[in-house]
Point group: C2
Chain length 332, copies 2
């Protein structure tokens, strides 16, 4: 696959963000392939209603897994056409494996590691709510133990009434950017559209203010989280919380403001995987001008290296002053 498979506008936009040919593979092959595979996952979801519907509370288990595995397979298969991706791991198969032929790729100076969550939000697949894919692209042959600055791109795929993706790029000679692409993949053909050339989290003030309180049950045993939620209600914030990490974060990005809170309390352990969920989302949020921090330390998610593929944490992200306020309330 080459950049010509993308709509001209999207291809030009990528070219303007990554003019340096030391990123040629990322620009012309890796990112187009990832967008295409998101289109293919969307098509698989759209036509597999019977498989998906089995994932109800009545019949949880293996059948639900099928959709996750299908998404995993589609993305893995797509990667095989990207020689510059030498290592990949996913939330479904959380072991970094180098491609067996990776060492043999000659004349290609670009080497990338992919870390992805093929289908996030399995609990809301059965009722047909929007779900998503999360992908981080790292420079080099591993993401573990690396400076988070090496994560130079990330992509969130959103499967809803239509298919869309938020893409972030940030590294040295690349221009820091966050943009939205519309994707339509049907009958093996990919159509893309540049929807928002610049996704930005603004400071406001806004008439409507949004909050997304994840793991609200934790507030039952943590008075600070309960007080924070009560604060939002009494201040008449608007609740938008689907329980899908991708749609919940993308809501803020598309509306241009908002705060997402997934706290960690004594009785409620950290749930989100740093490699497959937190790091890619943090890059998107930061490239959009927002802030993504650890709810316990208040420090940037991207402030420290990821120790292993199963390392977990909480998340507060969104508009910077909203994130600062939430951290102040939870840790104060």
């Amino acid at each position: 696959m080459s950049a010509t498979d993308l709509d001209n506008e999207v291809a030009s936009h990528l070219k303007s963000l990554l003019p340096d040919d030391s990123y040629a593979s990322l620009r012309d092959t890796v990112l187009p392939t990832l967008l295409s595979s998101i289109g293919a996952v969307a098509e698989a979801l759209r036509t597999s209603s019977r498989v998906s519907q089995l994932g109800s509370s009545n019949s949880f288990g293996d059948d639900q897994l099928n959709v996750d595995v299908a998404a995993e397979d589609i993305i893995r298969k797509a990667l095989s056409s990207c020689p510059s991706i030498v290592t990949a791991s996913s939330e479904e198969d959380p072991v970094e494996r180098m491609k067996t032929d990776a060492a043999r790729v000659e004349g290609d100076l670009e080497h990338y590691t992919l870390a992805f969550d093929p289908l996030d939000g399995s609990s809301i697949i059965a009722p047909n709510w929007s779900v998503g894919t999360i992908i981080g692209v790292w420079k080099g042959t591993t993401a573990i133990g690396q400076n988070p600055e090496n994560q130079i791109a990330s992509v969130l795929g959103v499967y809803g009434p239509r298919t869309s993706a938020i893409v972030a790029v940030r590294h040295l000679s690349a221009i820091t950017a966050c943009f939205e692409v519309g994707i339509n993949f049907a009958e093996e053909r990919l159509a893309t559209e540049l929807l928002r050339p610049q996704v930005r989290l603004e400071e406001g003030p806004f008439k409507t203010r949004y909050f997304a309180p994840a793991n609200m049950r934790a507030a039952a045993e943590n008075h600070k989280y309960m007080e924070l939620i009560t604060h939002y209600i009494s201040q008449k914030y608007t609740l938008r919380y689907s329980g899908g990490l991708v749609p919940d974060v993308v809501h803020a990005l598309v509306k241009g403001h908002g705060v997402y809170i997934s706290p960690v309390t004594e009785k409620s352990k950290a749930k989100l995987r740093r490699l497959y969920e937190l790091a890619p989302i943090a890059l998107i949020i930061e490239c959009a001008g927002g802030v993504a921090v650890d709810p316990v330390t208040g420090e940037r998610i991207l402030g420290k290296a990821i120790e292993n593929t199963d390392e977990r944490g909480g998340l507060i992200c969104g508009t910077s002053h909203e994130v600062r306020f939430a951290i102040h309330k939870l840790s104060g």
Copy 2:
């Protein structure tokens, strides 16, 4: 369009629910046409990312309306092939109009009135969250002032990663039923699938309990609603609230339990339209074995006639004991 356009399983299911030929048009034309038009609306949404995306907080207004109007047009056009539908009105055009040729339909003893909300959830279209269509089918030439028992069928279309619909049928010789259909409409061809022959709201107990608190801002000025929300949090209910009426109600239907609350308080007026939103949803919920009541009076939504197309109200619906508890807390 005839029933043969439906998948055999869906057509047989409808035939088993409506064996009486006095419902032949409803069974063979009206319901298949409505399912088909939901497929067509899904296809329109899927391929109109640019129109939809304009509906962000930055550029609200006419552009957003385009998607609503497109859905309205698709459904209206479909109705023209249903001679037994003699009257129709919608949330976009809330005036009951009888078809000009309606009086001339001879030999057809079935006459139906349609009341529909073509695209509910405009505020969450831009971020690509699931949205829906709501349709009520009434016996006779008007829905206004009629016994709500005359609403003999209703349909909720869900536009998410795939397209699905919940259908309810209840009247005299018809068998009371609520079922789920998978819909795939592409290249002018409709494919349907019977996903859940019986959608049921069960009493539990369940390990996970869901709540969907609409208009949470009202709790800022209403301590009873605030206490109810605090109760759910302290009892560790799981929050699922997208802000889209259709996906929020369908979440409970597909999970098999849950409660949706849209209160009416002194400062927060009733918002949901009885004709286009409340009545069709109440029929679905009741046919699934649940309860749908007015939050002020505690009485059945379907307990009294609809006075005009703009009449509004609140809603508490879902699993019966959850609804009773919420009413008790809000009115107690």
